[in-house]
Subunit: 171 residues, 8 copies
């Protein structure tokens, strides 16, 4: 568990889906968190349909020392901004393009173009994996074990490219 | 005053700006509301910076029988959606393109692409005047005086075009 | 029936399709109107192919106290604007992206960017459900039963999210 | 006068502005019509504010053997389509980008993406000059004098480019 | 045959495809031309691969009194502009979105944004049918039989909408 | 100084400009860092013109325990991605729209659409202030003083909105 | 082999894929290089995952007198720019739209909008074939045999269009 | 003079403007060519207004061993493609965004999205300087003096960045 401080079972990361239709992006995200042994909790909370639950949950999670929030949302994706308006912990937004009628431009602009004062760290369209890695990079600032795992992850990526290259250049 | 029911001094419409930089759009909007003698109240409330004030204000306004909410906002314009998540009264959204770095595409898509269940009635970019008229059309459903004023307003518009046409065709 | 005033069998809402290819969006819309027991009439009228029928129909419907018009249209979607030019009742536009060659940008901009004086309340791409709910919100201003149904509808939505969340967080 | 048939003073072309704010584009257009001695009439008629005048005017103009209609309009530019729905004479649309909040994308798509059956011949953004030339090309099909003028116009254009080239290549 | 002047077997219209991959759009176009008994010739000529053939063909067709040219092309669709640079007869451009990697925005802008002096009458994405009707409208200016057929075509369209409406409103 | 670990004078944040034309965005960013007493170092390093300097600098900065990197860049903004390929520390990207010929869409997409494995935390166009706050939120995870300052900063923002609202609602 | 100078077995062209998911574009590219008997080497090297390998490889390839580099990449396609920052040999970029969530706009803008001083010769979306031909045109400047082959290739293209035209016009 | 072969006074590069309104982009381009002592000739030739002059000129220039063609054009920028259809020498296209009504998207897509077989090497919007450098890189493949100048140019760029960095980091 990569929780910031000692204590009972903690989640380092909270992953919140705006809708269960965002599950596919979540799967690529949770796979990376699991691979890096990062503890996380997962919720489906709608900024528009259950705003009070969102507020209570985020405030509680902040008290329980959840370090990073990741919001996965499509369309007019107010979720990451709504989270960021409640907490001063880092909030990562994953705009969802899957099933989007307009290539995810709606969720991308709804996340990245936040007003001054309330930042959202936006990653690419459907980029669950990068959201998980960004959260890991943030947590690794105070966790050397995780930093090592991240570097190992990079090495694995690097090796995969090298292997493919080795095969490809001899084709 | 075009309030839905009898009572003390009521606002039929609530106009909420996400920021005082949206003032220019507000001016074109309030001019039409005044011209049609529609009572309204005006606020600057940020969905991200003062979300609790927003919640209290909308709930209170709903109880005071404010009929229509108009939100003017730019960038990742979460304001109309946030209002719509609190009340079941009609919410009109005016996306702001003035000073936008991306032609208002961010605020337009953030408003119009609402998730199922939480509608926002979106009008054109910086279209304060049309937002006021749409609110008036809604109020006029239960107010015949206002309906007549709206029809007179249309006639005035029509006459202006006809006058310009009369001059233009003889140039 | 949620008609504004007493009388014989009235439609509260008129739903107009620009083409029968917009049927899929209509289905999601009519399902919500039926669920809320809102009386409506349904037509296929083309702004370009049967403009005189449109004019006669809208004027007649306005006399029959139809309160809200909903237009579903794709491509250069002139339909909602054409309706709005005939009546001062609220007109809701649903831009159709299904089968659009350009992601519905054509119908979205053709609806939302109305000239000053002739507002169209635009909802999201293919957002039949939200158009129905927006119409219901307008009608509910003078109908407490409908207002209660709308709040119940919201509660149902809220409960669905909560149920999914309850299952998801324990996965 | 390049009217299709003999008779009293006829207009070969009708130029209709959706608003007097489209005057600047009109000026570039009328200059070319005048240069080619093409008779035309000019009107300001709004598809949304004076639709009945539009209908009467187009039907009358068609009877008076106006051959080509040119519509100049911005925003959700329904004007050329509205004209095309009334007449089977060719309709040329000029989308206006000047003062547009969204680069004229709204008027361009509102004109060019017409539904099957109702064509609009769309030219470039603010392209008054090309609209005039396209009208002239259509009229020239039954008017050899105009055809010669068009070819002379092309020669003049060609010569201007050649003169600039001659100077430029020696700089 | 709707040729402008009497003579041997003439084509009123020339339809040119930039590539045989544009065949699907051509089919919708030729169906309308055939339905209206408009004589036409059909070619596949590339502005980039067979420019000299294009030049010879257009000059010859102009001499043979072909009245209207229709170009169907995708990608950087230089074809209609290349034709328009050779002839002063009206040139209609059909931008192809089918198989386009960028929704036909490339061909649309390559056609509609012609430089001053060389107009192209652009119709909608893949709008073969409207291109045929626009050509027919131009030819009908000097052919009353065709004008009647066009009006009959409109009536048929109108009737189809009315039939669908009649069925739909009783569902 | 908000450095992660004890030691000599440390920079918590490194701010890198791709060009000195990005200065205006930097100014809004450095103002916030200064206001929050966050130590930072500032560089102009081009991913394309001085790539070796970039590599050396980032590796050195990582060793010196710089916690967060912020890259400000326009056009094909490779800078944040290049930094992220060298370090596993969090990298924040600020796409520059000022002077952009295409509204900053080039730099926004060049930053946010990173390949899997190399995340960049992208903020809004020219959003120097939000980049600084995001960096502060990350640093505050292990620095309670900074966390308090951030909450105070939020309160100040909130108060400013409330003051403006108080004046505005009485106008 | 179309290598610039005499020597042992040389590659005239180096083709580098950012990922093996770009294979489909590569296939259309290599087919043309093979057809023109242009020697080339092929690699999979990631600008972000294996940047050091990229640097070593490009510097080595430049010494081995590889004349032209072709980079095929999607998303935030930093690869061609990264190559161009290492060598002064011409670099051709092929933006990949296949599987892109945003129609390849990300890779197109990431390649074509290079900062001043570091040019990338960008071809169309997924345009492997044109990238190969552009490389061939560059190599042909110092190789008359290749120039002849290129002209023959053009003739073949021309003939194919003519054959299709011959069949089509008689349909 | 960096001409490919020995002979009388040769131009290595031909720079062609589609219109004299593209002069500003030309100036940044010619400055670089002059700085690198690359001989060039400059013309204003319109693909649409003087197509025959274009054909004669390009064929003649190819015979005179002009190595690289650079076309600067705006709007539906057919010029580089038209050149590429005449010669098999490399053609560089510079899309012009200055004064464009649509941010140069028209000229960018008109250039980069060439059909298979006719490549255009497209550089950035208004990127005259990069076009010149790309031409220089191509010429340098057979000219070692130019290759050295290019490397020196890069060093100068690098030094400028370093100087600015040196000043900036001490501010």
């Amino acid at each position: 568990v990569y929780a910031k401080r000692e204590g009972e079972a903690l989640s380092a990361v909270s992953v919140i889906l705006g809708s269960d239709s965002d599950r596919e992006v979540f799967n690529s995200l949770s796979a990376v968190l699991n691979e890096l042994d990062i503890s996380f909790e997962q919720r489906i909370i709608s900024a528009h349909r259950t705003p009070d639950i969102l507020k209570n949950y985020i405030e509680d999670a902040e008290k329980r020392d959840v370090s990073v929030f990741i919001a996965i949302a499509g369309m007019a994706a107010a979720l990451p901004g709504a989270i960021a308006s409640i907490t001063t912990r880092p909030v990562i937004g994953v705009p969802v393009a899957l099933k989007s009628k307009i290539m995810g431009l709606d969720s991308l602009l709804s996340m990245v173009q936040m007003p001054p004062g309330i930042p959202v760290a936006t990653v690419g369209l459907d980029a669950g994996r990068n959201a998980a890695l960004l959260a890991a990079e943030i947590l690794a600032l105070s966790n050397e074990t995780l930093e090592k795992k991240l570097k190992a992850y990079r090495d694995t990526q690097r090796n995969k490219v090298m292997e493919k290259d080795a095969a490809f250049k001899e084709e």
